[in-house]
C-alpha cells in the first residue's frame, strides 16, 4: 500500500465523520489563526517602529543645550544656550567616530505663497543635515554650502508644505514664498518621509540655511547655537560616539569631575532598540499564547483520535484480519491526525490572514504577514498532528486482532 492510498483511506475515514472531523480541526484552526493574526499585527507594529526610526536617520544622536537653573526653577533641556558654533566645529572635526554633524535651529512661523499660507516648522541647518537624515529632493536641489556662506534667502520645502502652499502635484521650484514676511526662493522640494514613531509629520517642515535663519528669523546671540546638533555616528556603535562627544564637550566647557553635564545627548539608536525590544517582547508573548492554543488543539486531536480508535476497534480488527500490517494501521491513524491538523492549519492560516486584515483595516493597525511565519505555522500544526496522533495510532496498531474483532 503506497502513501497515497494510505492518505485516501485516512481521508475517507475522516469524511465518514464530517462534523467530528471539523470540530477537531477547529482547535487547530483557532490556534493557527491566532498565531497568524497575532504575529502579523506584532510584526506590523515592529516594522512601523523600524520604519519611523529609519526615517529619522540611522545611528543618530541629538546633542541639546543644557538647562537653565534660576532660583530652583529648572528650565529643561535647551533652555539655556550652552552649545556654541565652535562646539559644532569641534564635533565635526575632532571626533573620529562622528560621520556628520549638523545644527538644527527651529522656529514656528507662517509661510505664504501667492495664494496660500501655512503655519509650519522652519529649520535652519546645513547641507550635512540631509545626509544625516538620508533625505533627498523629489524636485529641485538641496541647500548648498554656498547658500550658507552667502546667507542666501532660499528654502527647501517638505512635501506637506509644498502641497499646502502650491497645491498637490504642483512644481514650486523657482517660486517665491514669504517666511515671516521675508521673501525666499524655493530651490527644492523634499521626498516624502512620512510620520515619526510618535505620529509627527516629518514632511510638514521647511529648511533654510542656518546663517539666513540666524540673521532673518531668530536673531539672538551669535556665539551660541540656540538649537540642537544632529550627529550621525560613523558606525552603529552609537554608545562610543556618545561617550566621545560627551568627553569633548565636557572638556570644551571646562566641566570638572563631579559637575553635571551642561548639555544632554539623546541616543536615538538606543531609543529605537528599546522600542524594538518592547515590540519583540509583545510578539514573543503573543507567540506563547498561540503556542498554548496549538497545544490545546493538539490535545483535542489526541482526544478525538483516542475515541476514534476505541470506536473503530472492530474495524481495526477486520483490517488486521484481512492482511493489514501493524505499521499500516499505525500509518492510517497517523495520517488521519496529520490530515486533521494539516487542514486545520491551512484553514487557520486563511482565517488568521482574514482576521488580521479585518483588524488592521478597522483599527488602522499596520500589518505584516510574513510567509515564513505562515509556513512555520502550517508545518507546526502538521507536526502537532503527528506528535499527538502518535499515541492513539500506536494504541491502534498494538491491538490484538482477535480481541479487536470481538470488541463490542
Amino acid at each position: 500500500m503506497n502513501p497515497f492510498q494510505t492518505f485516501r483511506v485516512a481521508l475517507r475515514a475522516l469524511l465518514r465523520n464530517k462534523m467530528r472531523s471539523f470540530l477537531t480541526c477547529l482547535g487547530m484552526i483557532i490556534g493557527v489563526s491566532a498565531v497568524i493574526a497575532m504575529v502579523a499585527i506584532g510584526e506590523g507594529a515592529k516594522a512601523r517602529v523600524e520604519e519611523a526610526f529609519a526615517a529619522m536617520g540611522t545611528n543618530l544622536l541629538i546633542v541639546m543645550a543644557g538647562s537653565s537653573s534660576m532660583g530652583g526653577v529648572q528650565g529643561g533641556s535647551g533652555s539655556q544656550p550652552t552649545l556654541t558654533w565652535e562646539d559644532l566645529k569641534a564635533i565635526q572635526s575632532e571626533v573620529s567616530s562622528v560621520k556628520y554633524a549638523a545644527p538644527q535651529l527651529r522656529s514656528n512661523g507662517q509661510v505664504m505663497s501667492e495664494e496660500q499660507n501655512w503655519g509650519t516648522q522652519i529649520y535652519g541647518t546645513t547641507p550635512e543635515y540631509f545626509k544625516i537624515r538620508s533625505w533627498a529632493v523629489s524636485s529641485g536641489s538641496l541647500l548648498t554650502q554656498s547658500d550658507g556662506d552667502t546667507g542666501a534667502k532660499v528654502a527647501v520645502l517638505g512635501q506637506t508644505v509644498a502641497d499646502k502652499l502650491f497645491g498637490v502635484g504642483s512644481s514650486p521650484v523657482g517660486q517665491n514664498i514669504r517666511i515671516k514676511n521675508i521673501p525666499f526662493t524655493v530651490v527644492g522640494v523634499l521626498a516624502k518621509k512620512g510620520q515619526s514613531a510618535m505620529g509627527q509629520d516629518y514632511d510638514d517642515a521647511l529648511f533654510i540655511p542656518v546663517s539666513t535663519f540666524g540673521s532673518k528669523i531668530q536673531g539672538g546671540l551669535k556665539k551660541y547655537l540656540s538649537g540642537s546638533i544632529m550627529v550621525q555616528a560613523a558606525t552603529s556603535d552609537t554608545a562610543r560616539t556618545q561617550a566621545d562627544v560627551t568627553a569633548l564637550l565636557r572638556d570644551r566647557h571646562r566641566l570638572a569631575d563631579g559637575i553635571d553635564d551642561d548639555f544632554s545627548i539623546r541616543n536615538l539608536a538606543e531609543i529605537a532598540s528599546a522600542q524594538q525590544e518592547g515590540t519583540k517582547t509583545m510578539t514573543s508573548l503573543l507567540a506563547a499564547v498561540a503556542a498554548v492554543s496549538l497545544l490545546v488543539g493538539g490535545i483535542g486531536i489526541m482526544n478525538i483520535m483516542l475515541v476514534s480508535v476505541t470506536e473503530r476497534t472492530r474495524e481495526i480488527g477486520l483490517r488486521m484480519a484481512i492482511g493489514a500490517r501493524r505499521y499500516q494501521i499505525m500509518a492510517q491513524f497517523l495520517v488521519e491526525s496529520l490530515t486533521l491538523a494539516f487542514f486545520g492549519g491551512l484553514i487557520g492560516v486563511a482565517v488568521g490572514v482574514g482576521t488580521a486584515t479585518w483588524l488592521s483595516s478597522s483599527f488602522g493597525w499596520s500589518l505584516l504577514i510574513r510567509p515564513d511565519v505562515v509556513a512555520i505555522s502550517v508545518v507546526f500544526s502538521a507536526l502537532t498532528g503527528v506528535i499527538f496522533g502518535l499515541y492513539p495510532a500506536r494504541k491502534a496498531s498494538r491491538l490484538d486482532p482477535i480481541d479487536a474483532l470481538r470488541y463490542e
Binding site: M1, N2, Q5, V9, R12, R16, R314, E315, G317, L318, R319, M320, A321, I322, G323, A324, R325, R326, Q328, P401, I402, L405
Partner: protein
C-alpha cells in the same frame, strides 16, 4: 505439491487467566485438504481458538501448523498479516463491514493491502460481487442492505483475493433460517469450485451442509467424520422457511 492445505501437528494453546491456566487446545493433530469442513462444539470447547489458529490470527503455544506446507507457527506479525492477506478469506458472524462505505469499497479492502492498483481492484471487486449475486448493488452502503446481503458482501470480500481458504465464524448466526440456507448454498457452490471452507458453528442444521464435521470438546477433537452433505436448496418463498429435506 502433496502437502495438505492445512496440517496441524500436536497443536496446543494455553491461556493464562489470572491464576488459572486454560488449555484451549490440547495436542490437536488435524489435516484439512479441500472440503466444506464444519467445526462444532459447545462454547469453551476450543473451536474458536482452533479457528483463530487456522486463520493465522493466533499462534499455537506449542506444536506446529503448516499452511500450504509452510510452517506458520513461528512467524512474526507482518508475515502472518501477509499470509492472511494472500491465502485466507474471513467471514464473521456480525459481517464486519465498514459502515458508510459502499459494498464495492468494502470488497476492495483486502486488495488495497495487497497493493493491487485501483482499476484492477474495481474490476475484481465487481466480479466478486457478481459472483455472490450482488452485481446490482455494488454502490449500496451496508445500512441499505439486508443481513443476508451484507453477509454476501463479506463473502465477496473473502473471495476477492482468490485465496484458497475461507474461514467462516458462525456465518449464519445473525441470519434467519431462510437466509442461512442461501448463504450455505453459496458456500457449497464455492466449495464445489475448489475452495476449502472451514466453518465454525454450533448449529447441527448448518453442519449438515458440510462435507466433513469435526466435533471438539475440552480442547480436543472428539469426532472427525466425512459425510454426504445435505444439498442446500432455497425453498420457494411460499413455503415455510427453514424446512430441510
Amino acid at each position: 505439491m502433496n502437502a495438505p492445505l492445512i496440517h496441524l501437528e500436536k497443536v496446543c494453546k494455553t491461556y493464562r487467566m489470572g491464576e488459572e491456566v486454560v488449555h484451549a487446545l490440547q495436542d490437536v493433530t488435524l489435516d484439512i485438504n479441500g472440503g466444506l469442513v464444519a467445526i462444532m462444539g459447545a462454547s469453551g470447547s476450543g473451536k474458536s481458538t482452533m479457528m483463530n489458529v487456522i486463520g493465522c490470527l493466533d499462534r499455537p503455544s506449542s506444536g506446529s501448523y503448516f499452511l500450504e506446507g509452510q510452517d506458520v507457527s513461528k512467524m512474526g506479525h507482518n508475515a502472518l498479516a501477509d499470509i492472511r492477506n494472500r491465502t485466507i478469506g474471513f467471514v464473521f458472524q456480525s459481517f464486519h463491514l465498514l459502515s458508510r462505505t459502499s459494498a464495492i469499497e468494502n470488497v476492495e479492502l483486502p486488495l488495497v493491502y495487497a497493493g493491487v492498483s485501483g482499476k484492477e481492484r474495481k474490476r475484481r471487486a465487481e466480479e466478486a460481487l457478481k459472483r455472490v449475486g450482488l452485481g446490482a448493488r455494488i454502490h449500496h452502503h451496508p445500512n441499505q442492505l439486508s443481513g443476508g446481503q451484507q453477509q454476501r458482501v463479506a463473502i465477496a470480500r473473502a473471495i476477492v483475493s482468490k485465496s484458497k481458504l475461507l474461514m467462516a465464524d458462525e456465518p449464519t448466526g445473525n441470519l434467519d433460517s431462510r437466509t442461512s440456507i442461501e448463504i450455505m448454498a453459496l458456500f457449497q457452490e464455492l466449495w464445489r469450485e475448489g475452495m476449502t471452507i472451514v466453518l465454525v458453528t454450533h448449529e447441527p442444521d448448518i453442519a449438515a451442509f458440510a462435507s466433513r464435521v469435526v466435533v471438539m470438546k475440552d480442547g480436543e477433537v472428539l469426532t472427525d467424520r466425512e459425510q454426504e452433505p445435505v444439498v442446500a436448496v432455497v425453498p420457494p418463498p411460499a413455503s415455510r422457511p427453514g424446512v430441510m429435506t
